[in-house]
Symmetry: C2
Subunit: 431 residues, 2 copies
Amino acid sequence: MIGLATPLGDVLKMDIKTEITQLAQQAKRAAKRLAHLSTSVKNSALSYMADGLEAQKEKIKQENEKDLAYARSKGLSSAMIDRLLLNDKRIQGMAKGLREVALLPDPVGEVIRMWRRPNGLEIGKVRVPLGVIGIIYESRPNVTADTAGLCLKSGNAVILRGGSEAIHSNVCIAKILAESAQKAGIPEYAIQLIKTTDRQAIYEMLKLDKYIDVIIPRGGEELIRTVTENSTIPVIKHDKGLCHVYVDNEANLKMAEEIAYNAKVQRPGVCNAMETLLVHQEVAPKFLPPLIQRYRQAGVEVRGCEQTRAMVPEVKPATEADWDTEYLDLILSIKIVTGLDEALEHIARHGSMLSEAIVTENYTKARRFLQEVDAASVYVNASTRFTDGNEFGLGAEIGISTQKLHARGPVGLEELTSTKYIIYGSGQVRE
Amino acid sequence: MIGLATPLGDVLKMDIKTEITQLAQQAKRAAKRLAHLSTSVKNSALSYMADGLEAQKEKIKQENEKDLAYARSKGLSSAMIDRLLLNDKRIQGMAKGLREVALLPDPVGEVIRMWRRPNGLEIGKVRVPLGVIGIIYESRPNVTADTAGLCLKSGNAVILRGGSEAIHSNVCIAKILAESAQKAGIPEYAIQLIKTTDRQAIYEMLKLDKYIDVIIPRGGEELIRTVTENSTIPVIKHDKGLCHVYVDNEANLKMAEEIAYNAKVQRPGVCNAMETLLVHQEVAPKFLPPLIQRYRQAGVEVRGCEQTRAMVPEVKPATEADWDTEYLDLILSIKIVTGLDEALEHIARHGSMLSEAIVTENYTKARRFLQEVDAASVYVNASTRFTDGNEFGLGAEIGISTQKLHARGPVGLEELTSTKYIIYGSGQVRE
């Protein structure tokens, strides 16, 4: 009798494996048809999906209430509970997002370039969907609608795996989206959500390279690590954002103050917010005290190096760990540096290579910063907060990639496509 | 005493781990400097590398002789031994390849596009090196020179891991390349080769995502699988090539014969050669007998479906396994199909999605084939053999990718780069 636990466990795991494999096979079949749908069918589906969310908002709120009740019973923080919450405004926000994606140009079918070879072959490079995209995300249920919309518009089938804390909301939203899309002629299984909250489902999914073309993890470092270490499917990573602003001794200090303030305070909980401010030692005595005063008025907890604390004693001491911490909160670490070289070194060592800025009027230092900082986005005289598909004018994004392969920076519709070569011949053979 | 084996084994593995980690750290440091080298320094290094190989060709042949002797003692096939062999002509070929790479445009620093936002931000997307590239390959030692040249020109540091059968040749070539490059001002450790032939080195390498930006495996299916399953580093895969030519009932049959002959016979051992010929049932009786006759004269072993064998009885029977076999040899399987739909289905099921061709004069069928075949390269009325960086006019290639992420089709200098956004502001902050 003692041995029973293992076989039973195996049976359950086999069920999950079978279930996820079936989902992936269905997605692959749907992807074949999705790839050839006209833009107008896809846009009409996005519009149906938006209408569906609005029409069934009471149902969504009911299901969301189950998630909220569970979260409260588990004693989750009010910030976490707020992230889970869906109200009328947020549901309308999801619908609006889908309608905006409908307005974006369709990347599929775009001929990026086409040329003729000396032997007469005409070779074109055409954008095509990636195929099946697996999204693994945490917490906010609006991600379900955002990512489903972007995947659909780019002609991809999607398999969604949300967090267990939002399972009722996610199941409800995904069902509405899938049913609404089908009304417009989208194939069944184009949008699917994994209903089991068993983590085993993630591990099974990550091995299905035969059916799934790319995995996009969105969440904390642990999730990213789990996915990277276990996936045989190519991954587009959305790592942490540990961003810096370096204020040079030749900066316009008024401009520097506005940028440094904006980069920290305007929305501290996002990946492109600044976590560490680097200030040239020559301008620090003049620049820092009024800025720190302003930070404190905005409720920012300031931690600083010894030199900073010598200038403004109320500042808490920053430890080595601070330089490597993504606060995602109203906390800032400040370091005074001897110049551009030390700033570049600090960024190379501690930055997450997402969004980095210099404030300077010096041409050569601006140019060096742009060339030498190896990040997805490098700024001169602007806030790090602009690293965003919409702000770049690329349209909605599924996230911001910190890896170098395939997509770096905002991941929008174009980054959700691959390419193929099409070759028009007239009987050419190779010599 | 019995316990001793394990600790000793661990010590050895620790040594390999330390060694590979050190190599990777050195490569990362070199990559930082390589990224900012001028094109002229890189081109001069490529020229020195070519000169170095030619000047030391006797030494290379001596070292190569050690590999050949070992291969003979192991009873390797003459084809395998021929792939290992380096003679004057092949060494000159490597040198010529490096000089050709010097002539290609430098992808690094290219501004792919640049635009201005309503708020005045100027955003540019710039090509930058990937960083550190790990290449894992088998057999032919000329790959050492080819890949080192392409990685250098694209501003990347490279860590080479060749097969044990070519270890003496590879060590010798890599040493010459690295020393020659340094004479031109290339940083130390820009080109490194793993000297141990212990497979453990591969596993250690695949976990160093902190230092290595991309892994490119070149070799058989087993190697590709090992890399995919064990790598936490993004991979650019070079899978097998199982390519088809479909001869439609509306084909120009003379053209179809030349293409089908060329795709199989001109160079059967490469990934873009045809493995299976699909023929519309209406034209098969007229088309196949003379073509099969011609194949047989060229020494091609033909295996066919029942219908083919009914037409030409000398043809051997093809089994189900044949449709999934990449022969890389003078062997061909032939299947008679009822039309385009069956051909598309067969290709989707058995093709490796590398290089697929239709021969037809029918506009609608040509267009359907181009759209519906989900391969890296899709041809109308031309041989599958053109899938190649040089034939496409893209210059030398490091291989041909069959994956959809980052690079699909020939992987040349452009595919060995990433991008970053550079943003010029004048004090912009986010509202």
